[in-house]
Amino acid sequence: MPVRTLSDLKQGDEGVLDRLEVVAEVAERLMELGFLPGVRVSAGRAAPGGDPMVFRVDGSEVAIRRATARRLILNDSAQTGEDGTNV
């Protein structure tokens, strides 16, 4: 099965982030915004045209481009704790 990424989430879908396949500097900024491995992310409304996408993560809404979302890989088998961190 091919890996799923955040860009595959439709509006209202949820997923658990597995890893960020981006350079360290970018990963750091994304993690500061809440995109940490193990957290639950849900897709909100995207901008018209489907790009950028808006995600609800870690209690707030963050917009990122679809190209960035494509590098954020989902873990389809993981379970998350209530607080959004890995247990």
């Binding site: 993690m31 500061e32 018209p48 870690d58 209690g59 963050v62 917009a63 990122i64």
Partner: protein, 590 residues
């Protein structure tokens, strides 16, 4: 432990007025859009700009708090940060102040760490690196009114125990909890106790630490704001979204057409967008279009505010992480039609274009001309951005677009009113300084050299000679030496040309003083300019960077004269060529 340790929620941390010393510089720190500037304004009585989008504050701002003992303590408001890793210019300012690396500013000896209590886990992650600095810190749980009303829970006292620092629940917007904050600022405190801090470099471990601390304090996140979702289903709607946006722009542009008092209407419009939280959404919608010319959505925020004035717009580019994109945004921002161009446009259009209905009563010829000029500036900006994309911006920025969306909030009448008052003040200040000074200098230049105690004819005055000196250069555009004087004085600020021409024609006509908006000035212009030359003048003002304050700000923000002068030269060349083309085309057609 100090007495402050025990003090927490809602209680006043005991300050000891007998102890000498105390704090002298207190830094206000926190994540973007958590309410630092609102708190700063509350404590200092100042009116630092606040709005509902991340990145409003891009520079440190100092203010004084007077405490009971009569002593004054300096408060420094900082741009928002997610961590002490600084990537953008505004984050570098915040980090520099905190670490005492700012020239001319001592390191702060206490910190007010403002956290958005409706999103505690993320906001507390910043507490780890801040507490590790070892500076006495008060954690201000801001927006606790929001937390309560949306059904969230938090035991401040237990959070204080968990973190080993005093904590106060507050609402800067409503002025709750201010007493306890003032008491902390005025008092002495010891460094926070040595805590088990997480590995600071690891964002994951910082985050787990924050979740643990908030969990131990009975934190329950509030329900998501229901109407933020409802509104977004309209504003981010595939069809309605861009339409609502365009309508907003249309209202802004359309209103300016009738002009000056309506400039304020434009500010209300921008103010509502900024305060409601809509601006960040507009930036998201704009991202794809901006990407085509090599920019990102965040650049949309400064470009929109450049319609008011390029100077704050250039400051606002500090939030753009990629240096190249930031420079590109700075370079194109002055093409946006700022409010200083309006009096010039209005004068020339009124003199040359009779008002006729074009599309019913809604759109007349004059309004259409004004819209055309707005469009012209915008096109020049887009074309320049494209040009930069294939040169300066060729290498793509490694940092992708990210933007945190604030929840929607009602803009308050008070905040919009304050903004208008500030704007009017800036306008009056400009009129009283730059414009007045240039007018005085011009008057002097127009009245020397005296012969037998009599002022010379204006064409023989020093001002006249300056105008004649540039006349050969501007002659191809259809401008004579009088317009030349106006072009020279308008280098200080665009709108100065209106007063200058009023003065010149006034002196010439033997009147005491030229009334700037008088039909007399319009008549005089009509005699001196052909229709082609009038078009040339409008295009010249749409493109040229006649604003010394903008040049100075660009020099400061880009760290040297090189880009500032290149920008000035580029815009001047474009203005000259554009004006010549405009004149030539009109002469072919008419």
């Amino acid at each position: 432990m100090s007495e402050l340790q025990a003090a927490s929620t809602g209680q006043t941390p005991p300050a000891d007025p007998n102890t000498s010393g105390g704090f002298s510089l207190v830094a206000v720190v926190g994540a973007p859009n958590c309410g630092k500037s609102t708190l700063f304004n509350r404590l200092t009585g100042l009116r630092q700009k606040v709005a509902n989008y991340p990145g409003v504050t891009v520079e440190k701002r100092l203010g004084k708090v007077r405490v009971e003992s009569g002593r004054e303590i300096t408060l420094v408001d900082l741009p928002g940060i997610y961590s002490l890793t600084a990537r953008s210019e505004d984050e570098r300012v915040a980090r520099g102040v905190l670490l005492g690396e700012m020239p001319g500013l001592a390191p702060p000896d206490a910190v007010l760490l403002v956290v958005d209590s409706t999103n505690l886990n993320r906001n507390l992650s910043l507490a780890a690196p801040i507490l590790a600095l070892g500076i006495p810190t008060l954690i201000v749980l801001n927006m606790s009114d929001d937390l309560r009303s949306r059904g969230g829970l938090l035991d401040g006292e237990r959070l204080s125990e968990q973190l080993g620092v005093p904590v106060v629940q507050a609402s800067a917007a409503r002025g709750e909890g201010l007493e306890a904050i003032r008491a902390f600022v005025s008092g002495r405190s010891t460094a926070p106790q040595r805590l088990e801090l997480p590995v600071l470099q690891d964002i994951g471990s910082r985050r787990r630490w924050a979740v643990h601390a908030s969990g131990q304090s009975g934190y329950q996140a509030p329900a998501a704001s229901a109407w933020t979702r409802r509104l977004d289903s309209a504003f981010l709607h595939p069809l309605a979204g861009p339409l609502i946006f365009l309508q907003g722009v249309w209202a802004g542009v359309g209103s300016v057409l009738v002009f000056l008092p309506q400039i304020l209407f434009l500010f209300v419009l921008i103010g509502v967008m900024e305060d409601s939280g809509y601006l960040a959404r507009a930036a998201v919608i704009a991202d794809r279009t901006m990407a085509r010319v090599g920019l990102e959505g965040k650049a949309f925020i400064p470009l929109l505010s450049a319609y008011a004035c390029a100077i704050p717009a250039i400051m606002a580019t500090r939030t753009i992480e990629s240096r190249r994109e930031r420079l590109a945004t700075i370079l194109i921002a002055p093409f946006m039609t700022c409010s200083a161009r309006l009096p010039v446009y209005a004068l020339v259009i009124a003199a040359f274009l009779p008002e006729k209905p074009l599309l019913g009563p809604l759109l007349g010829t004059r309004a259409a001309a004004m819209i055309g000029l707005y469009g012209l500036g915008f096109l020049a900006a887009v074309a320049t951005a494209r040009l930069l994309k294939s040169t300066l911006l060729k290498r793509q920025s490694p940092l992708p677009f990210t933007l945190e969306l604030p929840p929607y909030r009602w803009p308050t009448l008070q905040s919009i009113g304050l903004r208008l008052a500030d704007r009017s003040l800036i306008f009056l200040k400009r009129a009283g300084t730059v414009i007045l000074l240039t007018t005085v200098v011009l008057w002097f230049l127009a009245s020397v050299p005296r012969t037998d105690g009599q002022p010379p004819e204006i064409s023989r005055s020093l001002a006249g000679k300056m105008g004649k000196a540039v006349e050969p250069v501007i002659e191809p555009l259809g401008f004579n030496w009088k317009i030349g004087i106006g072009l020279i004085t308008s280098l200080a600020a665009r709108e100065v040309i209106v007063g200058t021409l009023g003065t010149i024609y006034g002196i010439e006509g033997g009147e005491e003083e030229g009334d700037e908006s008088s039909p007399g000035l319009q008549q005089a212009l009509k005699q001196d300019l052909t229709p082609g030359a009038a078009v040339a003048l409008l295009i010249f003002f749409a493109f040229a960077l006649q604003c010394m304050s903008t040049v100075a700000v660009v020099r400061r923000e880009t760290g040297g004269w090189r880009l500032a002068l290149a920008q000035f030269g580029y815009m001047l060349a474009l203005a000259y060529i554009g004006a010549w083309l405009g004149k030539t085309l009109v002469e072919i057609w008419v």
